[in-house]
Subunit: 218 residues, 2 copies
DNA sequence: CCTACCGATCGGTAGG
DNA sequence: CCTACCGATCGGTAGG
């Protein structure tokens, strides 16, 4: 009797999931971004609707109700993943542009810089956030969608002058607006088939894209 | 008491949903394809996981359990939508090729025929089946995926000789295998943004795609 | 952040 | 193809 009363109590005390920091659970931003990373990975692999908040909690080493301490709903968690993905993509794109040669350099080279960075954001290590944004857009509200549209405009901003100049120079013959949509399609679809462990590298992918889109030109 | 016994009975007899054929409910293939069409529309709009079998049944004018008379599971219904979409796409592609000029005609023209038909299958009226196949592939089993892979090979078969010849003639400079993946991406992504009621026509879309992919060439 | 819980919904089935 | 139903799971919450 005494045993049967103490044993369960002890086994309940045993921590579940990954070990916690003994110091302070006030390490808040950390737990939040663990949730974001776990959610991004699961949303990408199984889709938003097929992922339960329990799955996400478990992947972050929490109990089933705990995600709602950090996010007010499952939908808010999805939106946070997308927003985080866009902020990171914009930042990385700006760094890639700065790292590249001056803006006067050859136009195909500038397009290649943008495309190469896009593949990185889309297919590189830890790249679940942007694919989630691209492929789970159906599951956010119109209001949230409008919020993301602004970030997407920011992301696409550096592409327009390059595409316009390529069109003017005759190396991009298609209508620029449609060309932009088709090009992003070609790139974004790679999230469906690209396998980092085999086949082409991201550099080879970028080369193929440039070769496909750029006419002979001057 | 007599009233309260007959009234509910009568109200239960009143048919729910859309009117049925009074003649014979043995009109079986018809009901089945109504289910397929309803399922395709809902799977496309809301996704597989967010669509309940009750939604599908209601859209086809049935009661909640009835879809399982025609399909043994929700997953079997999804697979049937995809299979039906591929069979139809292959058939329409073969007709488009037959209708076009002889196979010896100009290569960009042959590619345009394939692309134009692809947009039709993807974006034309009643075109929910192929987008479902493209965007809900995550929700089928590996066994089902293998079954579809054969149909996809059949669909892609007429593209290869055209792309190979374009590469040989110098009008397609990118690696052919990667070019094929990028091209299908550019086309397939249009299901995400194309709006039949505004913007470009499918012909203009096909023109833009050809202009984007084809170098100046001989 | 955990425990314990609730109401709602879902895929599927038996039996007609 | 309908009726009535079941077990499972889910998002979310109160109260600590």
């Amino acid at each position: 009797m005494a045993m049967s009363a103490t044993l369960p109590a002890e086994s309940v005390k045993r921590p579940r999931g990954r070990p916690r920091k003994t110091v302070a659970d006030r390490d808040d931003g950390n737990r939040r971004s663990e949730l974001l990373r776990s959610a991004a990975r699961l949303f990408r692999r199984k889709g938003f609707d097929a992922t339960s908040t329990r799955d996400i909690a478990a992947a972050a080493g929490m109990q089933s109700g705990s995600p709602f301490y950090h996010f007010k709903s499952k939908g808010a968690l999805l939106f946070a993943v997308m927003e985080e993905g866009m902020h990171s993509a914009i930042e990385r794109q700006q760094q890639a542009i700065s790292r590249a040669e001056p803006a006067t350099a050859d136009l195909p080279g500038r397009l290649r810089t943008l495309i190469r960075n896009h593949f990185d954001v889309l297919l590189g290590p830890g790249s679940d956030f942007i694919p989630v944004m691209l492929y789970e857009a159906r599951s956010i509200t119109p209001r949230q969608r409008a919020g993301l549209a602004g970030l997407q405009r920011d992301y696409e901003a550096p592409w327009s002058p390059v595409l316009d100049a390529l069109h003017a120079s005759g190396r991009l013959r298609a209508d620029v607006k449609l060309a932009r949509l088709l090009i992003f399609g070609a790139l974004n679809w790679s999230a469906q088939w690209y396998d980092r462990r085999k086949g082409a590298s991201l550099d080879e992918l970028a080369d193929a894209a440039i070769a496909l889109f750029m006419g002979e030109g001057p």
